[in-house]
Amino acid sequence: MTSDVRRIDVDYLARVEGEGEMHVKVVDGKIEDVYFGIFEPPRFYEAFMEGRPFSEAPDITARICGICPVAYQMSSVHAMEYAFGASVGGQLRTLRRLLYCGEWIESHVLHMFLLHAPDFLGYESAVHMAADHKDVVELGLRLKKAGNAIVTLVGGREIHPINVKVGGFYKVPTKKELLTLVPELEWSRDAAIETIRLVAGFNFPKVEQDFEFVSLSHPLEYPFNEGRIVSNKGLDIAVSEWNDFFLEEHVERSNALHSRIRERGAYHVGPLARYALNFEKLTESARDIALEVGLGPVELNPFKSIIVRGVETLYAIEEALRIIDQYEEPASPAVELNIHAGVGHGASEAPRGMLYHRYELDSNGRILKAQIVPPTAQNQLTIEDDLMVVLEDSLEMPDDELTWVLEQSIRNYDPCISCATHFLKLNIERITTE
């Protein structure tokens, strides 16, 4: 018996944040193994935070990810406030939502235009794409800037904002300052609608999966900072119950811990999950445009996540405009904290999906134990399932096309491998025995 071995190696997955590895093995046309591995050098955040003061958590954990630092800041401050029994409401809570709107806009637009759209249009990068579609790239860059402007004004700077603290902010903006954002956000609302129509016109591989979608759910609003953790398969728990229902496993192929729902397995966090579980909470115009371009209230094709990112971008712009319109400067930039020993849990919706933090604190508010579960770690198993489904449908493709569509299906998740932990090698092995 002889084996005909067909192999494709891509040493580095491009247009993702960080580096990882994928290995595919096909024997006699049958998929034998698919794995998505992460080899980011571990940085040991959870270990070196032990002994640090609670107040440093938003600044330190922001450095886990340069793309979604606000998410880390939000999950950490909520966890600390939970531990201290503090409640941050009113305009301070609303300002946090505004800051998050800014991060969703800049992160989603970065991914749609600079990382993902080049796949659909067949370009190596947005810079290559700009040669033929300069107006599209410029639209994206301007829209992204509108998101960054919110983060910069409320947070101090777009990467690793300095204004977030446990209990609120160091300084709150004036109404007049926020109003300066309005004209560009009004332009952005139209630009987002144009973007949704544009990306909805792309060609999508016909791939669907029976996902277990997991996201936060809040009775009144599309989720950013608060809510219960729910799924489309019956999960409905408080954030503090995370460890009772989810399990993190360390497997050899990955420096990121894999998450699964106990006794069920893989699940899906991120835009598709939030959208499916919170469709009714979107603004009317976001719902209307979603249906107009052909999305259902639940979308099961991971390649269409780019459209959902557009819908969420529109939502974030309209929410930002609403917040600015109703804003009144709060009397104090932060609430008082009663520091004591305790355990705190926080979950918020990073652009890529739910981000869970848990801290144990001593009586001086120093961290005894930290646990951080980033969205990409949670999506690892689902990404592998997707690769399997895409492979089954695409085995007849030549290697270069197959490689590209597999990369694209990983990029559907906008994976932040730096968050999850770095080195994406793509390795397709085809063996034919005769």
Binding site: Y45, F48, P53, S125
Partner: protein, 263 residues
């Protein structure tokens, strides 16, 4: 004439500094018109082979593999610039340099034997010659544009080396230490952020690392007059530039004092 070739490499880091290159929305396409973005995996699938004229390196060296990889990158690079606190000082992950990494690994991971990691996180300059260092956690994106522009124009980048205090004075921000009694690392920290934190009513926490010849003793004495303990001084110096020499020495000094005084 062929454009100079730009490469961007990542080591242990958060991606934020290289992201700054995509965050210069108004200048991204301009930059792409003066340098050939030849190898930048975060932005492009295309990899044009080296050697490269300008190489930007983000992140610190934390694994045996990366300690080898940086030498190959140096061989491929004519002018190598490190960007950010991780690449210039080892980053926040350099906190492991004071701890037992094996213990760290077992705190986070169930199977530390799957990991291949060094006991230290070190800056790039500890491994290869570096032509220019751009500080910051994160770097300032317009400073990155200046580095690229200066390279294209064949001059040294115009990057300040004075302290954050100078930036506060220029902005007219009242000193938070003097007016509010808020501990601030500004007097020993290099400028570059635009003195952001004091303008948001908080003390500088040292993102840009130690300025040229910082007087950390005087600063520590001023903090102690505000009621700050040695242990809290250790926390302050052991931040995002913990392993930069002046901050390292200061934190070790106050740690010894904290232990001696039973804090």
């Amino acid at each position: 004439m062929a454009l100079p070739k730009l490469a961007v490499y990542k080591f242990a880091s958060c991606d934020g500094c290289q992201l700054s290159l995509l965050d210069v929305e108004d200048h991204l396409l301009d930059i792409a018109s003066v340098v050939h973005i030849a190898n930048f995996p975060e932005a492009s699938r295309e990899v044009v082979e080296g050697p490269y004229d300008l190489t930007l390196v983000e992140g610190s060296i934390t694994t045996p593999h990366d300690a080898e990889r940086i030498h190959e990158i140096r061989r491929q690079s004519k002018y190598l610039v490190t960007i950010g606190a991780c690449a210039t000082a080892g980053g926040i992950q350099a906190l492991r340099n004071w701890k037992d990494t094996d213990l760290f690994a077992s705190t986070v991971y169930a199977h530390p034997e799957y990991l291949d990691t060094l006991h230290t996180s070190t800056p790039i300059k500890n491994h290869v010659e570096v032509n220019f260092e751009l500080r910051g956690c994160p770097i300032d994106k317009m400073a990155l544009v200046e580095v690229v522009a200066a390279f294209v124009q064949g001059r040294r980048p115009n990057i300040p080396e004075y302290s954050v205090c100078v930036e506060c004075k220029r902005k007219g921000t009242p000193c938070v230490m003097v007016s509010q009694g808020t501990p601030c690392l500004g007097p020993v920290t290099q400028a570059g952020c635009g003195a952001l934190c004091p303008s948001y009513n908080r003390g500088c926490y040292g993102c840009f690392g130690p300025m040229e010849s910082p007087n950390t003793d005087m600063l520590a004495a001023a903090w102690q007059r505000l009621g700050v303990s040695h242990r809290e001084l250790v926390d302050a110096f052991r931040g995002f530039n913990a392993y930069a020499e002046p901050f390292r020495i200061a934190s070790d000094h106050h740690e010894a004092l904290a232990v001696a005084q039973g804090e």
